[in-house]
Amino acid sequence: MIGSADYRRAATARLEDARMLQSSEHWSGATYLAGRGVEAMLRAVILKRSDRIDSGHDLKHHLKSARRLGMLTEDEARGGGRINDALNELAIVWQNNRRYYDDRKLLSILKRVTAYRRIRGGEDDFFKECVRRILEAAELIISRGDRAWIR
C-alpha cells in the first residue's frame, strides 16, 4: 500500500532524478520524471486529507482535488498565479504515456506548444529551454505541495 508520505518522498526523488537527467541532456526522461514528480506530490496532498484518490494520471484532475484540500491560495483557486500557469504548461506537455516517447517524439509535441514558439536557436537550444521551463514549473508545484503537506 502506497501512502501519502510515500508519494511525498517519491515526488522529491523524481524531481531530483529529472534534474540529473536534465544535466546530462536526457530530455524526454527529464520531462517524464518531472511530471511523475508532480503527480506524486498531488497524490500526497490528496491522500493526506482524504482517503480516496482517483487512480488516473490527469494532472489537472488531481490539482482540482488538491485545490479542494487546501493546496492553493484563494486567488490561485480562482485560476490566478504562477502555479496555475505552471500546471497548464505541464498538462500540455505531460501525459502518462510520455514514458514511451523518445526525444524525437517529444520534440514534435514541444514544437506545437504556443508558449515555446518564440524560443530561438537550434534544436539543442530549443530542447534545453523547453525542459528548463518544464522543470521549473514542476518544482514550483512540488514545492507548494510540500509546503501544504507539512503545515
Partner: protein, 91 residues
C-alpha cells in the same frame, strides 16, 4: 536531526542571506528538507540550487563539511520568505 544535517543546516544558514533551513536525514542517510532564504528572491529554482551548491562546495573547500557530507545532501526544496509564508485556506 543527526550530526550531518546539523552541519549542513549551519553551513546554509551562515552562507545564504536571511536563511532558515529545516533539514532531516532519511533512513538511507540522505539529507533532505526545506531551505527558506531571502537570497532566493527573484531567482529561478535552477539558480537557487546553484546558490546552495556553491555554499556547500565552499564549505567542503574550507573543511566545514567533508566531501561525504556534501554528497549526502539530496533534494532540498527552496522557498523565498513569501513563498514559505503563503496563506493557505486551512491555515
Amino acid at each position: 536531526m543527526d550530526q550531518v544535517s546539523a552541519k549542513v543546516k549551519e553551513v546554509l544558514e551562515n552562507g545564504l542571506e536571511g536563511c532558515e533551513a529545516f533539514l532531516d536525514t532519511e533512513p538511507n542517510g540522505r539529507v533532505t528538507g526545506h531551505v527558506v532564504a531571502r537570497e532566493f528572491d527573484d531567482l529561478s529554482y535552477e539558480d537557487r540550487r546553484k546558490c546552495i551548491r556553491a555554499v556547500i562546495e565552499e564549505a567542503v573547500t574550507s573543511g566545514r563539511l567533508t566531501r561525504e557530507d556534501a554528497l549526502s545532501v539530496s533534494t532540498l526544496l527552496t522557498y523565498t520568505p513569501d513563498e514559505w509564508a503563503v496563506t493557505l485556506p486551512d491555515d
